[in-house]
């Protein structure tokens, strides 16, 4: 039973790490995009 638990836990941890990695990257890029848009507006 512990092997079954380990296998499913590892699966969910790996999936969670990847999904949280994507979300963090998306948030960073969104913030960078907002900053760049503001800078372009200021320069115009």
């Amino acid at each position: 039973m512990s092997y079954l638990f380990a296998a499913y836990t590892v699966t969910w941890i790996l999936l969670f790490l990847y999904i949280s990695g994507i979300s963090t990257k998306q948030k960073k890029l969104d913030a960078e995009m907002t900053t760049l848009k503001k800078l372009i507006e200021q320069k115009k």
């Binding site: 039973m1 092997y3 079954l4 380990a6 296998a7 499913y8 590892v10 699966t11 790996l14 999936l15 990847y18 999904i19 994507i22 979300s23 990257k25 998306q26 890029l29 969104d30 960078e32 995009m33 760049l36 848009k37 800078l39 372009i40 320069k43 115009k44």
Partner: protein, 229 residues
């Protein structure tokens, strides 16, 4: 249609995954010789199956990129490579966890396990290659060539249990036995539901990863615009 797909995909993915978990742990019977540990089978096979689909997408996108030279094909190849590596990592981790109580060892250098490890290493190398080449066109070209060459190993990994006598079990689904797969009907249902759930998960992850790639392209454009302004 595209909006509808984006809107409902997370819910569809969540519901199918819940149904799959119900099918695995409650609906499917306990296997007679292995016991409960056999339930690893449903995730283990499904992740390798979806990894295979993802690797095929890498291959097709790489060919399309070299032919058309459009950035969207390179983005698709990158996204699918990452997700394939994720699913292969799950498969290569759950396999030894299942092997230990059944074979008595976590790992053995048998053709299926060794070729699967080589396959995983090849695609990890492609991701590393992408990180270490700064020039965009060179990076995309080399990654596309590597994506095509690495795919040669995929049918070999699939065929190893048919070509060699291995410690890894012979195919139970679509094997030489045809319909006599050796799986109880409830087990086959649970397996098929899990396969559908993981296919939706793949589509969802692709959608999210491609969205990141699209934002990255927009950020690049804005950087260039700012330099010109």
């Amino acid at each position: 249609m595209k909006n509808l797909y984006s809107r409902f995909l997370p819910s569809v993915c969540f519901v199918t995954m819940l149904v799959a978990l119900y099918a695995i742990f409650i609906y499917a019977p306990t296997e007679r010789t292995m016991g409960d540990v056999q339930r690893i089978f449903y995730f283990h096979i499904s992740t390798w199956w979806v990894a295979g689909v993802a690797l095929f997408v890498v291959f097709v996108s790489s060919v399309a990129y070299l032919w058309k030279r459009e950035r969207r094909f390179d983005a698709t190849a990158l996204a699918s490579t990452e997700i394939a590596v994720l699913f292969m990592t799950v498969g290569i981790t759950t396999g030894p966890i299942w092997a230990k109580p059944i074979w008595g060892v976590y790992w053995t250098w048998d053709p299926r396990l060794s070729s699967a490890l080589v396959c995983w290493l090849m695609y990890v190398a492609i991701l590393m290659l992408r990180r270490y080449i700064p020039e965009e066109s060179k990076r995309s070209n080399l990654s596309a060539v590597a994506g095509i060459l690495a795919f040669v190993n995929v049918p070999f990994v699939f065929m190893t249990i048919r070509l060699f006598r291995t410690q890894h079990p012979q195919p139970v689904i679509a094997g030489p036995g045809g319909d006599e797969s050796g799986l109880a009907p409830a087990m086959t249902h649970a397996f098929l539901i899990t396969l559908v759930a993981f296919t939706f998960l793949y589509l969802l992850l692709m959608q999210k990863r491609l969205a990141v790639e699209a934002t990255e392209q927009q950020v690049d454009k804005l950087h260039k615009e700012l330099e010109l302004a």
